[in-house]
């Protein structure tokens, strides 16, 4: 095994690294900062084309990895596709949004690094590599959230994010070391059998396993913003430059789920009886708290942040249900959430570019001020609320119905309550999504028109089109997700 053949599966990541390193230098060469965005876009689009050719079109197969640390499978492919798509949307929306700032080169370099970290998490089959990916993405996003240096809000957001993030990283690492202690391995797939053997030969070891499970749930729960590890999210989403909020809400959160799915459904499935009730309770609390607080928000970015918390609750259902169909629903919702949430943030960003604020009142009369933005926002919000035939409906439908199927024999019957909670929460969430639509269409606002910033407009269009397409091609996408989920359960 030569070094080169070892690195072969990492070629896209290497490409991203090369571009990331180039960016600060290019910053000195080009006056027009849009060129930087275009350069940053190149490897992302390239990677996306590769992923589409592989996962959707099936015209190409990635090389088999010879390393035991990673697994290039459909599961990682779909996650990578979500990350790269969000990356594209964020980069497209950035030049207009951060044009007041300096050091654009670093900004794009950091975005590329964050995407690298996320894709590494999706690929890794080993706890150590997984942690490395988490940290690469995490550190890049700490810096990005504080990018608007002159704004107090941004600096505050970065500080909070960094402190809480560091604390959570410590928890994650501690959990990993405990897992190593009780299983003697860091390979996720081998953890389960090893732990079983350990628990049966040593008394009290299972408590250590439980402690590790709780700690990993807390550490990764920070990334995906589940209650009570979500407190940072509204502050950080509000304070960061809006494209970065999109990156955090739509991609960073999904990275957390990639890790959670791998660890809980691949590594910890054997001890599922110990943790499923607890995780289910957390899921229900998360969606309820997220939606309840979102109702009382008047800042759109904060509202979207709490809506993200609620969505994390929906996706978290996958762990206690733990079936292939549930995981397919989780994957599907990860994909749809990536597009609808990043799209919604980009609409806010587009308005920010035109000097309009981000409070609910600023959306008054958007219909006459910018019919296209209003229409895009309406579609995205309706999708978030889960209205057919948009993507959000489709993926929620699979998620909730997987809870119903899971509650049938031989699964535990209480799983049905997850579906009930999900449906009730969706109804609750419609209130605050529809309120924005009401403000845009029913209320009278200022008369002046808002023109849509061009690049941000393209990003929004991409997100909206995907939101519609994923809903319309419901069946094909579910099948793909089911294939990916099957790959994780029976490699």
């Amino acid at each position: 095994m030569t070094v080169l053949s070892m690195l072969e599966p990492f070629l896209p990541q290497l490409l991203l690294v090369v571009f990331a390193l180039m960016m600060p230098a290019l910053d000195y060469i080009f006056k027009d900062k849009r060129i930087l965005a275009a350069v940053a876009l190149a490897p992302l689009v390239g990677y996306a084309v590769m992923l589409v050719a592989w996962t959707l079109a099936g015209v190409w197969e990635p090389p088999e990895s010879e390393m035991s640390l990673i697994e290039v499978d459909l599961f990682s492919g779909l996650f990578a596709l979500a990350f790269v798509s969000v990356g594209i949307i964020v980069v497209l929306g950035s030049p207009e949004s951060i044009r007041q700032e300096r050091n654009h080169g670093e900004y794009y370099a950091l975005i590329l690094l964050a995407v690298i970290g996320m894709t590494v998490v999706a690929l890794s089959t080993d706890l150590i590599l997984l942690f490395v990916g988490l940290e690469v993405a995490g550190i890049a996003s700490f810096a990005l959230s504080g990018f608007s240096k002159r704004e107090k809000r941004s600096a505050e957001a970065a500080t909070k994010y960094f402190i809480v993030g560091g604390f959570s990283s410590a928890l994650t690492l501690f959990a990993i070391s405990l897992f190593y202690g009780v299983s003697g391995t860091t390979a996720i797939a081998d953890m389960g059998p090893a732990m079983e053997a350990m628990f049966s030969s040593f008394d009290g070891m299972d408590s250590v396993g439980t402690l590790a499970t709780v700690m990993i749930l807390a550490g990764l729960g920070f990334k995906v913003a589940i209650v009570p590890f979500h407190m940072w999210a509204p502050d950080v989403y509000e304070g960061s430059p809006t494209p970065i909020s999109a990156l955090l809400a739509a991609a960073s959160k999904n990275m957390g789920f990639a890790a959670l799915f791998k660890i809980f459904l691949l590594g910890l499935l054997v001890t599922k009886a110990d943790w499923d009730v607890a995780v289910a309770v957390v899921a229900i609390i998360t969606m309820t708290v997220g939606n309840l607080i979102a109702v009382s928000q008047t800042n759109i970015k904060r509202m979207l942040a709490y809506s993200s918390v609620a969505q994390a609750g929906y996706i978290l259902m996958v762990l206690p249900i733990g079936t292939e169909y549930a995981l397919a629903g989780g994957l599907f919702h990860v994909l749809t959430h990536a597009f609808m949430k990043s799209g919604a943030f980009m609409v806010v960003s587009a308005m920010g570019v035109r000097g309009v604020g981000e409070s609910l009142n600023d959306f008054k009369g958007l219909r006459t001020r910018s019919p296209l933005l209003a229409l895009a926002m309406t579609l995205l919000l309706l999708s978030l609320a889960g209205i057919p035939p948009l993507a959000g409906f489709a993926s929620k439908f699979v998620l909730f119905s997987s809870a119903v199927y899971g509650s049938l024999d031989p699964g535990p019957s209480w799983l049905i309550w997850l579906a009930v909670a999900g449906v009730l929460n969706s109804a609750l969430s419609l209130y605050y999504y529809a309120r924005v639509i009401k403000y845009m269409y029913m209320e009278k606002g200022p008369e002046d028109r808002i023109s849509v910033p061009r690049l941000t407009g393209v990003a929004i269009l991409f997100a909206v089109v995907m939101t519609v397409v994923l809903g319309v091609y419901f069946d094909a996408v579910v099948e793909l997700c089911q294939q990916a989920a099957g790959g994780l359960f029976n490699p």
């Binding site: 749930l217 009730v277 009382s296 296209l372 419901f474």
Partner: protein, 653 residues
């Protein structure tokens, strides 16, 4: 070509989207009329290509492209297209009338200013979903479009929503047709329960249909026909259609004369393979049709609003079609001929052309005079030559004077009903009702024509002919109204053509030459009875409204006087509904409202209050203090640990 038929609804839909979202300056002419005409014309071309292909013998029944949208267990919800002879005729009717109405609107809606964008958007949405309705290949898809045409009808009746009468008419139309929609839905659910599929191809298989218990099949088909009663304004749910005349006249012409109200007839014709299984339902269909035809025609005798005359006439003619479908079912069952079925569809097509023509002429008159009241018109013939002549063509067609189109189809309808009398005596009674309607139709149509165009002006107006953009569609439609009846004789004949869509129900298809058909029509003494009655109706109208010195007050005395009062009150049906709604429904709704307000709302408000309060309480934890955040993480972690180590094992999960 047929596999591209799904594009037909797409073109108008694209026009709808463009008109709805494009900035005002890019809409240019008439706020989007250009896009509307383009979308309608594209669909027209495709529709003509489709019927061309269907005429050359190819259909797409159950073997077309399907789009699977949702799979729940064994049930899959698919969208597909179904194109047979019936679909092709409907496509052509909708596209021809739709295109001409949109062109006509270019001038007619000129004065509406800002609202034109809304008008064209809604019209295009309507045309699109109407196509969707007729090409659906299963009941669910059809029902979705069925509801959407209802929505568009509601929006367009209420186009002038600032006028209270328009707003309430829109609501009334929506609610009354909803009664039918619920029945339709119930019928569909019954079918689904027994067959397990909603695809036409499965349901229309005679072995599958026969497996449904007979009484359930009767119930299902009667309920499905209930949907048609609402949508096609049949007795007793017909009173919404005259009120729907509150909308713009173009809307009345397109939706409430030529296309949407035909959806009920189309549904009944489409469900023929099911209706055949339940002869009781066929009888019900025929009786409703006959009663409606006579009842509505009688009210039209005394109406003075030009559009209401046409509205009641539409109801009456729709009754004819329903009657023919009911009788036609008996003919298919016992005489192995599709005569009634083909008569109904031919009348559907002819009626679409001549009634759209009549409405657009009425629109032209209203445009010139500024009122709907015929008592204030008169003497317009000289000033509006094209309108008066085209309207005369339409009136001759509907009155059933040869060689205009209405004669041929009406004659076929009556012949089919008479023929069905051989198998059940009640059809003789229905035939008498039909033949009486012929007389009334001729009378009220020419009463309208004479009151409008003949004599001297009865009020002060300066009428002039409408612009070319309006008279052009009139002339096209007049030509169609004059000749569309000859479809009976084109190539193999309309009857042979349309029987293709119920081919599975007939054992042998009779092939008749043009001379055969002519021989049957003119060799039958009954044809002359209806001709004499029609001529008599016209003559009476002439005597009463054109001959000076005719004392019309003789009718206002005695029994005929009381009859007249009853007719002017629309047989008190409307009043009955109002009273019924006021007394019974309103009291029930008061109770329901109280329940809703105090019990349901109380619970909901309680939850909302709780939600809001708890949201605020939870929000308190969100202090912005980062130490607090970290602290909460630790607390959450500890709670989770305690929960997992002690509470879960103890709870016995």
């Amino acid at each position: 070509m047929l596999e591209y038929a799904w594009l037909i609804p797409v073109f108008p839909f694209v026009a709808f989207i463009l008109i709805a979202i494009l900035p005002k300056r890019t809409l240019s002419w008439e706020d989007g009329a250009g896009y509307a005409i383009g979308g309608a014309a594209a669909a027209l071309i495709l529709s003509v290509l489709v019927i061309w292909e269907v005429m050359s013998g190819s259909t797409m029944v159950g073997d077309g492209p399907k789009f699977e949208w949702l799979v729940i267990g064994d049930i899959s919800i698919t969208f597909g297209i179904w194109i047979d002879q019936l679909t092709a005729v409907m496509l052509v009717v909708v596209s021809v009338v739709g295109t001409l109405v949109v062109i006509y609107s270019g001038a007619y809606m000129h004065g509406e200013g800002e609202n034109r964008r809304r008008y064209y958007a809604e019209i295009m949405l309507f045309i699109s979903v109407m196509y969707g309705l007729v090409i659906s290949d299963n009941f669910l898809q059809m029902f979705i479009f069925w509801e959407l045409v209802g929505l568009c009808s509601y929006l367009l009746i209420g186009f002038w929503y600032e006028t209270p009468s328009a707003a309430s008419a829109a609501k009334r139309a929506f609610i009354v047709t909803r009664v039918g929609d619920i029945m339709l839905m119930a019928g569909i659910i019954i079918l689904f329960k027994y067959v397990g599929s909603l695809d036409f191809v499965t349901l229309f298989d005679q072995d599958t249909a026969a497996a449904v218990p007979t009484d359930m099949m009767v119930l299902a088909t009667v309920l499905i026909f209930g949907g048609a009663i609402g949508k096609s304004a049949q007795f007793p749910l017909h009173e919404w259609l005259p009120d729907a005349m509150e909308g713009p006249t173009t809307v009345s012409a397109l939706i409430h004369a030529a296309t949407m109200v035909k959806a009920g007839v189309y549904l009944t014709a489409r469900s023929y393979p099911l209706l055949i299984q339940a002869p009781e339902s066929l009888l019900f269909v025929a009786v409703i049709g006959g009663v409606t035809a006579l009842l509505a025609a009688s009210v039209a005798l005394v109406a003075t609003d030009i559009k209401r005359v046409l509205a009641y006439s539409t109801i009456s003619q729709l009754g004819y079609m329903t009657l023919a479908l009911g009788a036609g079912g008996y003919l298919v069952l016992y005489a192995d001929t599709g005569g009634g079925y083909s008569a109904a569809i031919l009348h559907l097509m002819n009626h679409a052309f001549f009634k759209a023509l009549l409405f657009l002429c009425a629109g032209s008159v209203i445009h010139a005079v500024g009122t709907n009241n015929m008592r204030l018109m008169g003497g317009l013939g000289k000033k509006m030559r094209i309108t008066s002549i085209t309207m005369l063509v339409g009136s001759l067609a509907i009155a059933g004077i040869p060689p205009f189109s209405g004669f041929w189809s009406k004659d076929e309808v009556l012949a089919a009903v008479y023929h069905a009398g051989e198998f059940d005596g009640i059809f003789f009674l229905l035939w008498f009702m039909g033949i009486a309607t012929v007389f009334m139709t001729a009378f009220y149509m020419f009463r309208m024509w004479f009151m409008t165009f003949a004599g001297e002006p009865r009020s002060d107006y300066h009428a002039h002919e409408s612009p070319k953009l309006m008279t052009f569609p009139l002339m096209i439609l007049a030509a169609l109204a004059a000749v569309s009846g000859f479809a009976l004789f084109i190539s193999d004949g309309f009857k042979y053509f349309i029987e293709g869509s119920i081919g599975g129900l007939l054992h042998e298809v009779h092939h008749e030459s043009a001379t055969d058909i002519l021989g049957v029509i003119f060799g039958d003494p009954l044809t002359y009875v209806s001709l004499v009655l029609a001529a008599g109706g016209i003559l009476l109208a002439y005597k009463m409204y054109c001959v000076p010195g005719f004392d019309r007050s003789v009718f206002a005395r005695g029994i005929s006087g009381r009859l007249q009062v009853a007719l002017e009150n629309r047989w008190y049906i409307s009043k009955f509904y109002d009273d019924f709604a006021l007394r019974v429904v309103y009291s029930i709704s008061l109770v329901a409202d109280a329940f809703d307000r105090y019990v349901i709302d109380g619970i909901v408000n309680g939850f909302a209050y709780l939600g809001g309060r708890s949201g605020n309480v939870i929000r308190m934890a969100q202090t912005g203090n980062v130490q607090r955040y970290a602290g909460l993480i630790v607390i959450g972690l500890c709670l989770l640990l305690i929960f997992m180590l002690y509470i879960v094992p103890w709870g016995g999960w």
